[in-house]
Amino acid sequence: MAKRKELEIVTVHEIPGDVVAGVVVADIAQIEADARTHPDADASRRILFAAKRLREIATNNMSPETKEKLISACATQR
C-alpha cells in the first residue's frame, strides 16, 4: 500500500505572513476544542478562559482605550 508523504508542520518563523491571522485563530479554536475534552474540569475552565482572552486580543475585540494603551506601551518599550 502506498504511503502518504507526511508534511512537516511549519515553525512559527516559517508561517507565511498572509495567513498568520488565520493560523492563530485556528490554533486558538484547536486549544478550545481540546480544552472541552480535558479530564480535569478546573484545567479545562482555565484553558478556556485564557483562550477566550487571547482570541479577543487576536481578533481586536478590545476597547479603543485598551488598544491605544497596548500600542503606546509597545512603542515606549523600544
Binding site: P16, V19, A21, G22, A26, D34, A58, L70, I71, Q77
Partner: protein, 132 residues
C-alpha cells in the same frame, strides 16, 4: 508563623479582563511613570517596531482570516476557508496547507473545524433596504 503577622490582610488575586492591560510592558510603563526608579529591561522576542499601522500582534486582527466557502463541492470538507490555504483530510482531522508554498500550517480536529464553521461559516446577508 511569626507572631503578629496577619495573613488575612493579604489581597486575593484578581483576574484581569481584556479591558485592563495584561502585558508586562504596560505594567512597567505604569511603574516608571509613578516612580523615578530605573526601568527594568524586559526580554523581547522581536526586534520589529509595533505601531497601529504596521501591525505587530495587533496587526493580525486586520489581516485576512476565515470566511465561508462560496461553493461547496464536498460536504465532508470544511465549509470555511482561509484565503491562500486549503484543507486535506488526515487521520480523522484536517491538515491546513499553504497553497503557494505547499507547507503544512497545522493539524485541526473535527471539533475545531466545527467551531470555525460556527464562527465564520455563516454567509453574510446583504439587505437592500431601498427595495420595497
Amino acid at each position: 508563623m511569626a507572631p503578629g503577622s496577619n495573613d488575612s490582610a493579604k489581597p486575593a488575586p484578581v483576574l484581569l479582563s481584556t479591558s485592563e492591560p495584561i502585558f508586562p510592558a504596560v505594567l512597567s510603563a505604569r511603574a516608571s511613570a509613578s516612580t523615578s526608579t530605573p526601568k527594568l529591561a524586559i526580554a523581547s522576542t522581536s526586534t520589529k517596531s509595533v505601531t497601529a499601522s504596521d501591525g505587530g500582534f495587533l496587526g493580525i486582527s486586520e489581516a485576512r482570516t476565515w470566511r465561508p466557502k462560496l461553493t461547496i463541492k464536498n460536504k465532508n470538507y470544511p465549509r470555511v476557508t482561509c484565503p491562500g490555504t486549503f484543507f486535506i483530510q488526515h487521520s480523522g482531522g484536517f491538515q491546513l496547507i499553504h497553497r503557494a508554498k505547499n507547507k503544512c500550517l497545522g493539524f485541526y480536529s473535527q471539533a475545531t473545524i466545527k467551531d470555525l464553521e460556527k464562527q465564520y461559516g455563516k454567509k453574510k446577508r446583504t439587505r437592500n433596504r431601498d427595495r420595497a
